[in-house]
């Protein structure tokens, strides 16, 4: 199955989405959602995905009226067998956008917040909970500190204790489709990406080091981490060969417990996949008891949970940056100007840097929906005339809540599939 392509590293999944030629009607709907033009095929002819250009976002999959695109990576049965193996602890890393969408698969209305029911259902299935919102808070601490370091370096020539300081503007690095987009189309901007890993990868690294040692008292090799994501590109991200930092760290300390390397995140389930896992185990999420996460690593704040919305990372980062720079909490905490569905949202934030006793104005931008929105912003950055210091980019329109791994809504453009049985010739 592994076909090595030149835009993939060894060990990575070479594209996680393909189009079923038997179902494709050549209607071009997918092409109108593809951010990179990776879909080839004439109107009316069967389309196919060029994996060398594909960034695995899955927008074609959730917007196809015929359900032709499918995921080539299916870890459902593997996860179920790990859940049944009592010697292994399966840690579910729940992304923010999953909790407001999973209910749709079990008959709850769209947007119903089902965090506690999800905890209940997943713990019944045998998962330990690591809420990815915890890792989102951790991301803000790391990425926010990195941004302040970069900004102070650019403005006041502050040096770091160790390591190289990247240039401004700083781009967020949470979205794996966006990271691959930069790697493919704007490699000159790679130094501008935040070096902070995405919350999923941080969560995997935390689970197998701190979690194993301090929270669960379990050998790292006995921990199986499963990302539960609204996203198909996360499957690709988890397979990137460099993301085995827990193993590398533990090997240095002599605690790895295995001679072969293991990844930080062992498997990734999309929201749809998780609902399949629960259904196969006869668990009805809608009627489950509401429970708590049960561990320290399920603790999260409001700033972490809004990561799933476009503008959420920026809003959370501004809340913390405000506290670090001025010493006071932002009032009000809501930062409405970065919310909403506009493709590019730009805001200037005047702040007082207590450490240098100087006023600084931070220009931030939020981009959602790469297709049609990102190019002008990036071209400005490449030519050195971008006014921004910090730019949040999410590939999917609306952010992760509309990710490629989310439940497919029939009242979206996939309504045709539901209407088909009404036609006699079907």
């Amino acid at each position: 199955m592994i076909v090595l392509d030149k835009t993939y590293q060894k060990g990575e999944y070479p594209g996680v989405i393909a189009i079923d030629p038997g179902l494709c009607k050549g209607c071009d709907a997918c092409r109108r959602h593809c951010p990179t033009g990776a879909i080839t095929g004439m109107f009316g002819a069967v389309h196919s995905i060029d994996i060398a250009e594909c960034i695995n976002c899955g927008q074609c999959l959730i917007n196809c009226p015929f359900g032709a695109p499918y995921e080539t990576v299916d870890p459902i049965d593997m996860v179920i067998s790990k859940l049944k193996d009592k010697s292994i602890m399966v840690v579910g890393i729940i992304a923010p956008a999953v909790r407001v969408a999973i209910g749709e698969e079990f008959g709850l209305p769209a947007g119903k917040l089902a965090t506690k029911k999800m905890y209940g259902a997943m713990r019944k299935a045998g998962f330990e909970i690591l809420d990815n919102n915890f890792a989102a808070d951790l991301t803000i601490m790391e990425e926010g500190t990195e941004f302040i370091q970069r900004a102070r370096h650019a403005l006041f020539n502050e040096e770091s204790e160790h390591g190289h300081i990247g240039p401004l503007p700083q781009f967020t690095s949470c979205c794996p489709a966006w990271v691959r987009f930069v790697e493919l189309y704007y490699p000159v901007l790679l130094p501008n990406l935040s070096t902070a890993k995405s919350p999923q990868q941080m969560a995997g690294a935390v689970a197998k080091t701190y979690g194993a040692m301090h929270v669960w008292n379990k050998a790292p090799v006995k921990i199986f981490t499963v990302g539960i994501m609204p996203c198909t590109a996360k499957k690709f991200e988890a397979s990137r060969p460099e993301f085995n930092s827990a193993y590398q760290y533990l090997a240095k300390e002599g605690k790895a417990g295995a001679s072969a390397s293991y990844p930080d995140v062992d498997a990734v389930l999309t929201t749809r996949d998780l609902s399949t896992v629960l259904k196969k185990m006869n668990i009805d999420l809608a009627h489950e008891k509401e429970t708590d996460g049960g561990t320290l690593l399920a603790e999260y704040t409001g700033a972490g949970t809004i990561f799933g919305n476009t503008g959420g990372v920026m809003e959370a980062a501004l809340r913390t940056a405000h506290k670090v720079l001025t010493g006071e909490e932002m009032k009000p905490l809501e930062f409405k100007k970065v919310r909403g569905f506009k493709g590019v949202k730009a805001v200037s934030v005047p702040l007082m840097d207590k450490k240098y006793d100087k006023k600084v104005t931070v220009n931030v931008a939020v981009v959602n929906g790469l297709r049609g929105n990102i190019k002008p912003v990036l071209d400005d950055v490449v030519q050195g005339r971008s006014p921004y210091h910090f730019i949040e980019v999410m590939n999917c329109p609306g952010g992760c809540v509309n990710g490629g791994g989310q439940p497919i809504q029939k009242n979206g453009s996939s309504w045709l599939e539901a209407a088909m049985p009404w036609f006699a010739w079907k």
């Binding site: 030149k6 590293q9 956008a97 909790r99 407001v100 749709e104 209305p109 769209a110 947007g111 917040l113 915890f134 808070d137 991301t139 601490m141 790391e142 500190t145 990195e146 370091q149 390591g163 691959r180 790697e183 493919l184 490699p187 790679l190 070096t195 902070a196 890993k197 941080m202 690294a205 080091t209 701190y210 040692m213 301090h214 460099e242 827990a246 590398q248 760290y249 690593l297 603790e299 704040t301 409001g302 700033a303 972490g304 949970t305 809004i306 799933g308 959420g312 809340r319 913390t320 506290k323 670090v324 909490e329 905490l333 569905f341 609306g398 809540v401 509309n402 809504q409 009242n411 979206g412």
Partner: protein, 105 residues
């Protein structure tokens, strides 16, 4: 042969100006209905994205702590394990320097 007389006058049909406007209005309203259906259909099409977005903002307002630096579990993780953001352990576990130019041969 008896000469026949024909009356070619049309049967009288009286419609007042008001009636004409009323009927015309109804016809145009019926013609416009499909356009309204289509437009409201398009407006409703992405309602689930709005609903999910609202759900997450509700989760935010319901939370007791709403700022990342106030997460006690994260601070405990730093004191027990990773020291502080951008520390040596943090750099090793939470950062990556492996972004690659995928077009390079």
């Amino acid at each position: 042969m008896k000469k026949q007389t024909y009356q070619y006058a049309e049967s009288p049909f009286n419609m007042s100006r008001r009636e004409f406007i009323t009927i015309g209005g109804i016809v145009i309203a019926l013609l416009a209905l499909p356009a309204v259906w289509i437009r409201s259909g398009i407006a409703k099409r992405n309602s689930y994205i709005r609903a999910r977005t609202k759900g997450l903002y509700t989760d935010d307002t319901q939370s007791k702590v709403r700022v990342s630096h106030g997460n006690t579990a994260v601070s405990k993780m730093y004191t027990d394990f990773a020291q502080h953001p951008l520390s040596e352990i943090s750099e090793e576990l939470f950062h990556t320097h492996h972004y690659i130019n995928r077009r390079a041969a």
